[in-house]
């Protein structure tokens, strides 16, 4: 939420993946066939739910320790992922809920529908969340997820990735995406990444190794900045009548 009620910039639908992307087969029957209908943003699109630290548990952003069942910590390459959430004008997006989910180090999700033969890690759930601070910053600690095969074009392989969900401060800013890791050779082969047409857009999803922030003898660090839609300035606001 915000007392600010300005309208957001238009979403660049050519930059986002289109709905119908046949190489990603599931999209074929799940993509609307008709054009989206343009909707003016009114109060419901310009506001959004408010999440505070009261909604969070202190371990919510520590995936190495938030699902310990047999003792010890999650197995895998220890990493910290951090970054800033800003809008298209570069302003920090504060108070945004950031939710993440991922496979374990072997590429297996803790989910009933995941039948991959890699084992579950009893001490890894793969679920985390945090809220951005006043400067738009967020961070969480986890293990690097493994790549995994999936049924698409026979066995396609997903590169290592972390799923992200962001709220921003308005429903118009809502975004779900995935973060990849710099240097992964599976990135150019992935049909889901391939739904995005512009290479520069794909690059925005690739986290960079951040050696300056590396935690000595503990964790590598990746930096992943996120851009949400920005509010337009309101210069001369006419109130159009009718539709």
């Amino acid at each position: 939420m915000s007392s600010d009620t300005g309208e957001f910039t238009r979403r660049d639908r050519a930059w986002h993946p289109p709905a119908f992307t046949p190489p990603y087969k599931t999209s074929v029957l799940r993509s609307p066939g008709k054009a989206l209908v343009s909707l003016r943003q009114s109060i419901g699109e310009r506001t959004g739910p408010v999440f505070g630290h009261g909604d969070l548990d202190p371990l919510d952003n520590d995936l190495i320790r938030n699902y310990i069942t047999t003792g010890g910590e999650a197995i895998g390459e220890r990493i910290i992922v951090h970054g800033r959430v800003v809008d298209e004008m570069g302003r920090p997006v504060k108070g945004s809920l950031v939710e993440v989910w991922q496979a374990n180090a072997g590429g297996r999700y803790r989910h009933g529908n995941d039948r991959y033969l890699a084992p579950l890690d009893p001490n890894f759930g793969g679920c985390g969340r945090c809220v951005t601070d006043d400067d738009g910053r967020y961070f969480f600690r986890t293990i690097k997820p493994g790549p995994y095969p999936w049924m698409n074009h026979n066995s396609d392989w997903r590169p290592s990735h972390i799923h992200f969900s962001l709220f921003g401060n308005a429903f118009a800013q809502r975004l779900v995406t995935q973060m990849y890791f710099e240097g992964d050779p599976l990135i150019p082969l992935c049909p889901i990444i391939g739904t995005i047409r512009d290479k520069a857009a794909v690059d925005m999803l690739v986290a960079k190794l951040d050696m300056n922030e590396m935690v000595p003898f503990d964790s590598l660090v990746y930096r992943f900045d996120i851009v949400l839609r920005g509010r337009r300035s309101t210069f001369f606001e006419n109130r159009p009548e009718g539709n």
Binding site: D12, R13, W15, H16, P17, P18, A19, T21, Y24, T26, S27, V28, L29, R30, S31, P32, G33, V37, S38, L39, Q41, S42, G44, E45, T47, P49, Y67, V86, E88, G90, W101, Y109, R110, H111, G112, N113, D114, G125, C127, H163, S165, F171, R174, L175, V176, T177, I192, I193, T195, I196, A201, M204, L205, I226, V227, L228, R229, R239, P240, N243
Partner: protein, 200 residues
Amino acid sequence: MPVQYLKETPSQTGGPYVHIGCLPHFAGLNLRTQEKLHVLAGGGVPGEQIRIEGVVWDGSGHPLRDVMLELWQADGSGTYNAPGFRGWGRVGADPQTGLWGFETIRPGATPWVDGRPQAPHCSLLLFARGINIHLHTRIYFDDRPEANAADPALLSIELVNRRQTLIAARQAGGQGRSDVPTFRFDVHLQGDKETVFFDC
């Protein structure tokens, strides 16, 4: 050369395991076991208790059994983010049937961009495997015909017969409590009955 702004981070599908991050207990994790995000309002919130339920259908007529939906609405007086009522909910479709449902209160009228009232409605977002960028629609209520007929957003849908895809039907005997009015809202991703999805 146009003025340069940052580009929005591109969307990617929520995938088949979206529940792990968004509804961990529903996904089978022993985390946030008390969370009931599909219940926006229990008995204590002022307003008319209602249930909204439905199924999301793909282009071949099969239910989406892995879809995750989010609801966003004003309170009974038309206020978003009202004290004591966040107005936001989230639910996963039933893994066998695809049925989903929210327990909430009927939203009040809210202003359109020019100040005219909008008919009571909820915003609904859909996230799922195979959906590359979330789909955005609205739920209106069929027992408010006058308000719907004057609703600026519905009127802005040029093809008149598509407006009805956004209107939930009050029905007898949903899966919820029998004393709570239940509205059925099925979403069709493709075909003759394709639901209106918005770009806003």
